[in-house]
């Protein structure tokens, strides 16, 4: 009944006149622009505005509550002469470089293992994600306890196993403190690599592997000549994301060492926070944050170009 009623009513309606808005929306260029608008507004509000605000702040002498005046590149020149800043730059590059190599190697290894068939595969995959799921601050506090100078469970275990006879000063020694934050970052970052690379591995057809095996390729040759080239575009994207995140890392170092001992673990973000918030020098804090922008831009451009090249091939 309802259908016939609706059909009857449609028959009586004259063909609608198209209004100017409808006509405009029928033009794909306008419709496209309209559909993009929400994204553009979000990007402008949450990415472009803070970025521009940061740039504007960095060329002033603004402090908390004081708008400041234009000082040109003075903050950046001051940074070039700032020993702690130079230390933070060096630390950030070491931290990002070392963690990325380890995360990639371990993540790839884990992904290859998880790509095999074994009992409890789904459960294992879920467990692997745990370090990535737990809020960073929480898990870092657990690590802080494990590295505690007095109550370290790692030291206790090594001592009980007769491997050490005195405490290892994990967070108190400059080199060991850097190694400690690297260990925690690798622990936290490996699942992201593993799961992303696992997704990449699953898109590779098993037939290619079988064909290579029939042709007499050994496992290593199969990996190097079949798996790796096909996995490379995914790997590059994963590395790109990871490098950006690691370069701008904050929570982990803030909780574990606060940038100490004696600035040995300060990164861009922790030093920017110390100066911008701890000392109230907003402009200098903004300049420190912005100083990582050129380095990240180079990384992003090089990697995106490489991805394009790989895709074309």
């Amino acid at each position: 009944m309802a259908i016939s009623y609706a059909a009857r009513e449609r028959a009586y309606v004259a063909a609608p006149r198209r209004g100017p808005v409808t006509r405009l929306l029928e033009d794909e260029r306008w419709l496209g622009a309209l559909l993009l608008l929400p994204t553009a507004v979000l990007l402008a509000l949450f990415i472009a505005y803070p970025f521009v605000k940061g740039v504007l702040l960095s060329v002033t002498d603004a402090r908390v509550g004081v708008p400041g005046t234009f000082v040109g590149l003075q903050n950046f020149i001051a940074l070039a002469h700032d020993g702690i800043f130079r230390e933070a730059v060096w630390n950030t590059f070491i931290y990002t470089g070392v963690t990325t190599v380890f995360k990639l190697a371990l993540g790839l290894w884990l992904a290859l293992l998880l790509n095999r068939h074994f009992r409890g595969k789904a459960l294992t995959r879920a467990f692997v994600l745990l370090p990535f799921i737990i809020p960073t601050v929480l898990s870092t506090f657990a690590w802080k306890w494990m590295f505690d100078p007095t109550f370290s469970v790692i030291n206790w275990t090594l001592y009980r196993l007769d491997i050490i006879d005195s405490r290892i000063n994990w967070l108190g020694d400059p080199q060991l403190a850097m190694i400690s934050i690297i260990i925690v970052n690798v622990w936290r970052g490996v699942p992201f690599y593993a799961i992303s690379l696992l997704a990449g591995l699953q898109t590779i057809s098993p037939e290619l592997q079988e064909a290579a095996a029939i042709d007499g390729a050994r496992p290593w040759q199969r990996f190097w000549h079949v798996t790796w080239p096909l996995l490379l575009p995914v790997t590059m994207v994963v590395v790109l994301f990871s490098v950006i995140q690691t370069f701008a890392d904050f929570q982990l170092v803030y909780v574990l060492t606060g940038g100490g001992p004696a600035n040995a673990t300060h990164l861009f973000a922790t030093y920017a926070y110390q100066i911008g918030v701890g000392t109230g020098l907003l402009s200098e804090g903004a300049a420190i944050s912005l100083a990582m922008f050129p380095a990240l831009l180079v990384v992003v451009v090089v990697q995106l170009l490489y991805i394009r090249r790989v895709e074309i091939h």
Binding site: T150, R167, P261, A262, V277
Partner: protein
């Protein structure tokens, strides 16, 4: 059920959208977030007190009394002390947030331009309660006006194990009076696995509370009284750094480079360090749980704890305590009400209740509180009673202003000692710190 057709929905949502966009335009035009109904309420931001009973008192009984006495609804928000500066920064920049913020150290000096003048309240308080300590004045007065009302001072003293120091020759509860004597005693105790505990890490309380008075006790200082001429690179400073290198190796727990403000509490309470510079929280905790914290002989730890000031050096004997002061935020729409509240909460009968719950962990901002009857309760707490009298603050011999706060928050003096104990030649460590100080004080 009421009908809600498309037409009325469009009307309503259209009206709402217009109202929202007009409101948003207003916010954007004024550049500050809207302030809601602030006339009859006061929002007070404080740290999570190390004495939880004090927070309970403020949020319960005191809030109710405030409403009765002033007709003001008091909202007390407590957060981690390390997060207060981030909140203050965002509040000042957005022009909205708590009416009053209880600041630690000399943080108020960083925000002077954004704080209300509270000279009238502070002067009244100082006059009526026996006068402020130097520390209270240094952090809350910018030389021209009071930018905050001093609230309290967390006194710092060395908590030490009476029996362990007796074993190395300090009978009758005595404690080494000079740095050399402490080094000798600490050396013997460290050999038994009971080192002195002290942080040289990046932590806001215990690190500067040791490194600053240690420097002063050797005769070293950051700047001259003009607040500009850096004089850190003195013979006295160098001697202090050289001594620290040996002292650290001989007598201190070398894990201290990574300690935060709670690490020494845990180390002392677990019996792994013989002495540590701290607020009274270690003793108060041991008092609270006599069964949980015991000595190696099975007796309550509380009975084996005594307190002493930091030892003397060639330049004298000093201390650095953690002061707290209430900043009345300039953006607050309720200036008059907030000032009335500050007067009320700092008045003797009201402050007395809070002070009593602290059990000596905090001393008052003025000298009158030394006469309080709680000091008769427990002789172990007595060293805290007048501890603030020897207190100086960061920036000495100059004013404890914004630049001194910058040196403090960058941990430059702490890092000078930390670098030296990590192997940097003492001369280079002093040179590095001097360079950093010149960049700040000379700017």
């Amino acid at each position: 059920m009421a009908r809600f057709d498309r037409r009325s929905f469009l009307k309503l949502s259209g009206g709402g959208a217009i109202a929202a966009s007009a409101g948003m335009a207003g916010i954007l035009a004024s550049g500050r977030a809207p302030a809601y109904a602030q006339a009859t309420s006061i929002h007070w931001l404080r740290w999570n007190d190390f004495v939880p009973a004090s927070d309970q008192l403020l949020k319960g009984e005191m809030a109710a009394e405030c409403e009765k006495a002033l007709g003001v609804k008091l909202t007390i928000e407590t957060i981690n002390a390390n997060d207060i500066q981030a909140r203050v920064t965002s509040s000042i920049q957005s022009g909205s947030g708590p009416d009053i913020v209880c600041a630690l150290n000399n943080w108020a000096q960083l925000y002077g331009e954004s704080l209300a003048d509270v000279t009238d309240v502070a002067e009244e308080l100082g006059k009526s309660q026996g006068g402020f300590y130097e520390t209270s004045r240094a952090v809350a007065n910018d030389g021209k006006r009071w930018i905050a009302v001093p609230w309290s001072i967390v006194g710092l003293q060395i908590a030490y194990r009476r029996s362990w120091f007796e074993e190395v020759g300090y009978a009758g509860g005595k404690f080494p009076e000079t740095w050399e004597a402490l080094r000798e005693a600490g050396k013997k105790l460290k050999a038994k696995g009971r080192p002195v505990g002290q942080t040289l890490g990046h932590t806001f309380g215990d690190a500067p509370a040791f490194t600053y008075p240690y420097l002063w006790s050797w005769g070293g200082k950051e700047v001259e009284a003009d607040g500009k001429t850096v004089v850190l690179d003195s013979k006295e400073t160098l001697e202090s750094v050289k001594f620290m290198v040996g002292f650290w190796k001989d007598a201190l727990d070398e894990g201290g480079l990574a300690w935060d403000d709670s690490s020494n509490n845990r180390a002392f309470l677990s019996g792994t360090c013989c002495a540590t510079n701290n607020g009274a929280s270690i003793y108060i905790e041991a008092l609270r749980k006599p069964d949980a914290y015991q000595t190696e002989k099975g007796t309550p730890l509380k009975d084996d704890i005594l307190h002493a000031p930091l030892p003397k050096g060639p330049g004298g004997q000093f201390s650095f305590h953690v002061p707290f002061s209430n900043m009345l935020m300039g953006y607050s729409k309720n200036q008059k009400g907030a000032k009335e509240f500050l007067r009320w909460i700092s008045s003797k009968p009201v402050f007395d209740k809070w002070f009593t719950t602290q059990k000596g962990f905090s001393v008052g901002p003025t000298t009158d509180w030394e006469k309080h009857k709680l000091w008769n309760d427990d002789p172990v707490m007595l060293p805290y009673r007048s501890a603030a009298r020897t207190g100086r603050f960061a920036g000495h011999a100059g004013p404890s202003g914004r630049k001194a706060a910058e040196v403090l928050t960058k941990y430059i003096l702490t890092d000078m000692y930390a670098k030296a104990v990590q192997g940097m030649p003492p001369e280079d460590a002093v040179k590095w710190a001097r360079g950093e100080l010149i960049k700040i004080y000379g700017a």
